[in-house]
């Protein structure tokens, strides 16, 4: 398909052409497997939100839903529909456009991260100022920052090329950016956000060609960072101990994870059947959110959970595959970055639900309840679909 464009490549001659839809129509079609996997997972995710949330929505212990059992579901379904639209819209913008706005996205991210710290704009929930209330919905600037880092780092790598590894001219920019973002996240504070953003940043540098020895050093410093976090933040320590033996404090720190393990464990091979989770009756906290996968395991069993994980794995593999076959370096980097972000969220979320890593608040993409987060995820996947249009070796 790309060859078709070569003759009349307005893209090369006109700066404006980068932004026209007309031009993008001429690009190839989106990658069907990737789009289908996304839509299937999104559909299952919305259904699971209904199943997982209706008990809490009905009993309404926090006076949020007014006892309407479909409260969360209806909202999630609306956002999912919008999300599909967002994904297809995003898939239509040419990759040059994304490359062009990379720095702006980064700056906006940082601005939002600063804004959220302002009392009155940022909402304080459970001692952390992570949310900006837009009136009709809320969103986390850290979600924007993730895509910001991916885009900006991809842009830097493409611009700097081999100078990436130069400490003064290249690496410093990455480090400073990550430093600023992480510092702002520390102020919120937002531990899981820091972990994901650091990981994304490192993966970007990894793809950008940073020598392996840096990662050894980085790994060590990361470990020491963990140590520092462990020493500085009491809640990190508490979570660590709760992870080691959640049953030691079943009604306190271990409560969430124990309830999650009960849910997953009682699912067995075939599960209790869709809609039949018992743990969702207010035993399991965050059952339609961070722990929605536990409800999946309880209702759909080992088979169902593995099926969904397989779909995620296929989506991720396809994402990487598309990135590897991207037409240009920026697309490849952004694609791999977004796919890694997706993979990391899925893997870490499931790892938390199964108590494979210490408990921290990481949502499951396409499943967890949360409107703006979902819209951003769909936008990210839309960017991958956009780059897939330029991939020639489809199928």
């Amino acid at each position: 398909m790309a060859s078709k464009n070569e003759g009349t490549l307005t893209y090369e001659n006109s700066r404006l052409a980068d932004y026209t839809y007309d031009n993008s129509i001429d690009r190839g079609a989106i990658d069907i497997p990737f789009a289908l996997l996304t839509l299937v997972l999104l559909t299952v995710g919305v259904v699971m939100v209904l199943s997982a949330s209706f008990a809490r929505a009905y009993y309404d212990p926090t006076n949020e839903t007014g006892g309407n059992a479909t409260y969360y579901f209806v909202r999630q379904a609306l956002f999912a529909m919008c999300g599909v639209g967002v994904m297809f819209v995003c898939s239509r913008f040419p990759m040059g456009f994304y490359r062009h706005i990379s720095r702006i996205v980064m700056l906006v991210s940082i601005a939002l991260l600063v804004l959220v710290l302002v009392p009155g704009i940022g909402e304080k929930v459970n001692g952390s100022r992570r949310w900006i209330n837009l009136g009709f919905t809320t969103f986390q600037p850290s979600e924007v920052a993730k895509i910001g880092i991916i885009m900006y780092f991809s842009f830097l790598i493409c611009t700097l090329k081999e100078k990436v590894t130069d400490l003064r001219e290249g690496l410093l920019r990455f480090i400073v950016t990550l430093g600023i973002v992480c510092a702002l996240l520390v102020l919120e504070p937002h531990m899981s956000g820091i972990i994901i953003i650091l990981a994304i940043g490192l993966v970007m540098l990894f793809l950008g060609g940073l020598p392996m020895r840096w990662f050894v050093i980085g790994g060590l410093s990361g470990a020491s960072l963990l140590g520092i976090g462990y020493a500085l933040f009491p809640y990190v320590r508490e979570r660590f101990f709760a992870w080691l033996n959640p049953f030691a404090d079943m009604s306190g720190d271990g409560y969430q994870i124990v309830q999650s393990l009960y849910s997953i464990g009682s699912g067995g091979l075939l599960g209790l059947g869709l809609g039949n989770s018992r743990q969702k009756y207010l035993y399991l906290p965050e059952e339609h959110n961070d722990f929605i996968f536990s409800v999946v395991c309880e209702e759909l069993g080992f088979i169902g959970a593995m099926l969904i994980l397989t779909l995620f794995a296929l989506l991720i593999i396809r994402g990487y595959w598309l990135s590897m076959h991207a037409r240009d370096r920026y697309s490849a980097l952004v694609g791999a970055g977004i796919t890694t972000h997706l993979a990391m969220q899925v893997i870490l979320n499931v790892a938390v639900c199964t108590n494979s890593i210490p408990c921290t608040g990481i949502s499951l993409p396409l499943f967890s309840y949360g409107g703006t987060a979902l819209l951003l995820q769909m936008a990210e996947l839309g960017i991958i679909l956009s780059l897939s249009r330029d991939v020639t070796e489809k199928r």
Binding site: Y59, G96, I264, F302, L309, Y320, D328, R329, A332
Partner: protein, 771 residues
């Protein structure tokens, strides 16, 4: 910054980038998912059962359906203890907060209905992490209904919608009632807050009475309310407790307690009194009581005197005061007739007598000489008889009548230490009786080594008249019952039948013979000798005499040696054990008067109390009286109702009832009034007046002093004023039996025809004499 030149020739990903992306694909797309899959396999397949069990355990909630506790009946199916359903009211502060209910409204509403302090309830509502905080326990049904109504009416939200209070909870429970209050409290015991017995029959038969609580098992959400869309519910029916029918007779128990209470007042008993009434032939306990007692309906409450002792005690801390309170409670809960041992004193001579006769060491013709004291091998000082002047030559019967210590020491020596020991053991005095009540104490005896010491007979000597060892009152009455009933040691018991909830007999207790200790012949002999202790001239047990009944028995006065060692003060127990009729014993009664203020005497305190008990109990139990010579005059009779009869008929009725018609006033054809009133019980042979038309006199007369007279003289003197007497105490015609008190004080102005009760007692028996 936006370098268009670079855009013109798009830079494709280099090989390193592709390699690294592939690496990420393998790690994030394949390896990680295999790891997660393995973890899920572990949780969902390998450990599935463990997690499922734990999850189900928290998801299922059990609601207890309390079983109705069984009823305790007396032998005539009067209800002594029963359960009724009540409610426990509690609040769930967490739910009050969760549903945003008004704690002020809830607290004031509950305070109004239940009379619980508002501030207390409100304080409870502030503990919003709690799901269960009790407001009132064992609330009666009508109050619980009002609480239920208050809960349902609830409140109106700002939209005018009605909500019931989720934070108020009503829980089914049951409450124990004891309709007779303090009656038989020590036998019945009481139940604690958890509805399980803590003392008495409630404790020993707790398993049978309790039944099995039912359960409702439901799947619930984390807040304990029903899970939606699941109708999982399992019922396990409650099995109501069994009821028990006791051998206790409410009437006998009432008489026993009444006379014990009187004894406590009359003899100023510092430590109260206790007593047992037993069916001699079966071992069934008809009555058992200790004074002071308690009300099992409110078993924590102590008597006002005890409360005052606690309040005024000089203690430093509240803990010490609580300890004192606990001590007073324990004191009132003690079933002294069973849980405490004492030196039986001379009452034990019954056993020595039986052992002597059965072993052949003595016979009815044996005679003894009492010089007032006796030198006993192993004792430095001679053993004194209570009558230091000595009883002189005496027959066996006389030795018993006068309760001669010297004679019984000689009997003990004739029996010998080993055989004496054997008989004591055979009479069950070494073992617990096995009565089905909790807390039975163990007797305390010399060891064989000491007791069998041939060089020191002092232990045997003292034991012969009931000293230097201790037994429980229960052991003693059981042993003496064996002496009385033909020699059969019975296992005493309180519960004769167990009924299920429908009233069907589940099990029935037959009397258990432990062993035959003495022959029927020996038993008979003992009964006749012991009858003389009560009816013989100048004998020690005279005050237990009951007109019309052949009462046998033995007095006893003993000192609490342990108490003297510990406190340096002397403390006595005056006791009497009587049974009747002597020729065919049916009922035995043992009374212990503990620590009289002055002059302890089994004959002066124990004997009259037992006498009064038997006077009431024997006719009630249907034991036919058999009057001996000269006894008729002492029996009080009911005045027949003659109103409306002709004067002739009236005279005939009166005379046939044993009264003398003094005069017929007026000339009417029918009786218009009578003195004394119909159905009054007065001395037989009293002079009655019949009015036919004429008005009876109404002018008050002065009560004269009737104390220190024989019953006959008292009757005549009262008659001088147109008054009547009835007797109490030793209802016997004898020059030595005189009135000791009268129910109406001398000098009081009373209406003509008033009946005054006089108490008769054996004046020849010194109040301070010890037996």
């Amino acid at each position: 910054m936006f370098n268009r030149r670079r855009d013109k020739e798009p830079v494709t990903p280099n090989r390193m980038m592709l390699r690294r992306t592939l690496f990420l694909m393998i790690v994030c797309g394949i390896v990680a998912f295999f790891a997660l899959g393995a973890r899920l396999f572990q949780l969902q397949i390998v450990d599935h059962d463990m997690y499922e069990t734990a999850a189900v355990e928290q998801q299922l909630r059990q609601t207890n359906v309390p079983a109705q506790r069984g009823t305790i009946y007396d032998r005539n199916m009067n209800i002594l203890a029963m359960s009724a359903s009540v409610s426990n009211i509690y609040i769930s502060p967490a739910e009050i907060a969760m549903y945003d209910e008004d704690p002020v409204a809830i607290a004031s509403g509950l305070a109004n209905i239940l009379g619980v302090d508002y501030a207390t309830i409100f304080e409870k509502t502030t503990h919003t992490d709690s799901w269960y905080s009790t407001v009132a326990r064992k609330v009666e049904d009508d109050l619980a209904d009002r609480v239920r109504e208050f809960k349902e009416n609830g409140y109106y939200d700002k939209d005018g919608k009605q909500h019931s209070y989720n934070g108020i909870k009503i829980e089914e429970a049951s409450k124990r009632y004891y309709p007779y209050g303090t009656l038989a409290s020590h036998v019945l015991g009481f139940v604690g807050a958890d509805d399980h017995g803590l003392a008495g029959l409630e404790y020993s038969y707790d398993e049978q009475l309790s039944g099995i609580d039912g359960r409702i098992v439901r799947a619930t959400n984390a807040y304990g309310t029903d899970m939606m869309f699941t109708d999982f519910e399992d019922y396990y029916d409650a099995v109501d407790g069994q009821s028990i029918v006791t051998t206790i007779d409410e009437t006998v128990q009432f008489y026993l307690e009444k006379h014990l209470d009187e004894a406590v007042v009359d003899y100023e008993l510092q430590d109260g009194a206790c007593g047992i009434v037993m069916d001699v032939n079966t071992g069934a306990i008809l009555g058992m009581a200790s004074v002071g007692d308690f009300d099992p309906n409110d078993y924590l409450a102590i008597s006002p005197e005890a409360q005052q002792r606690v309040d005024t005690a000089m203690v430093a801390t509240d803990e010490e005061r609580s300890a004192l309170l606990a001590e007073e409670r324990n004191l009132q809960w003690r079933n002294k007739a069973l849980t405490e041992t004492y030196e039986p004193g001379s009452v034990f001579k019954i056993i020595t007598l039986a052992a002597g006769l059965e072993s052949g060491a003595i016979d009815t013709n044996s005679t003894f000489y009492c010089g007032g004291s006796l030198q006993v091998l192993g004792r430095t000082d001679p053993l004194n008889c209570w009558n230091t002047a000595g009883h002189g030559n005496e027959t066996l019967t006389e030795a018993a009548m006068y309760s001669c210590n010297v004679a019984f020491t000689l009997i003990g020596q004739k029996v010998g230490a080993e055989r004496f020991y054997q008989y004591a053991r055979a009479f069950g005095l070494f073992d617990r009786t096995g009565v089905d009540l909790p807390g039975e104490a163990s007797s305390l005896w010399w060891s064989e080594d000491v007791f069998f010491n041939k060089a020191n007979l002092s232990q045997l000597a003292a034991a012969s008249f009931g000293q230097t060892f201790t037994v429980t009152p229960m052991q003693l009455i059981t042993a003496v019952s064996a002496v009385a009933n033909g020699g059969y040691l019975m296992e005493p018991y309180v519960v004769q039948k167990i009924l299920d909830a429908d009233g069907t007999v589940v099990s029935q207790r037959e009397p258990i013979v432990v062993r035959q200790v003495i022959s029927e012949k020996t038993s008979e002999t003992c009964c006749l000798i012991l009858e003389q202790v009560v009816s013989g001239k100048n004998s020690t047990g005279k005050n237990a005499y009951v007109a019309g009944y052949r009462v046998a028995g033995k007095t006893g006065t003993s000192e609490d040696v342990t108490y003297e060692i510990e406190h340096g003060e002397k403390k006595y127990i005056a006791s009497f054990l009587g049974f009747a009729p002597a020729n065919d014993p049916q009922v035995a009664a043992l009374v212990l008067c503990e620590n009289p203020d002055h002059g302890a005497s089994g004959g002066a305190m124990g004997a009259p109390t037992v006498g009064k008990i038997l006077t009431d109990v024997l006719p009630y139990l249907g034991v036919q009286p058999q009057y001996g010579e000269g006894e008729e005059g002492i029996v009080d009779q009911r005045v027949p109702r003659v109103l409306g009869k002709t004067p002739e008929e009236a005279r005939e009725l009166m005379e046939s009832a044993g009264f003398v018609v003094k005069s017929v006033k007026g000339s009417g054809a029918a009786v218009t009034a009578q003195l004394p009133a119909a159905n009054a019980k007065v001395a037989s042979g009293s002079e009655v007046i019949i009015y036919c038309g004429e008005e009876p006199p109404t002018e008050p007369v002065e009560m004269r002093d009737l104390i220190g007279l024989s019953y006959e003289i008292a009757k005549i003197r009262a008659g001088w004023d147109g008054l009547y007497v009835r007797g109490e105490g030793v209802m016997m015609n004898s020059n030595s039996i005189l009135t000791v008190s009268q129910s109406i004080e001398p000098g009081t102005m009373v209406a003509p025809g008033t009946v005054v009760t006089v108490t008769l007692s054996d004046s020849s028996w010194g109040a301070t004499a010890r037996t």
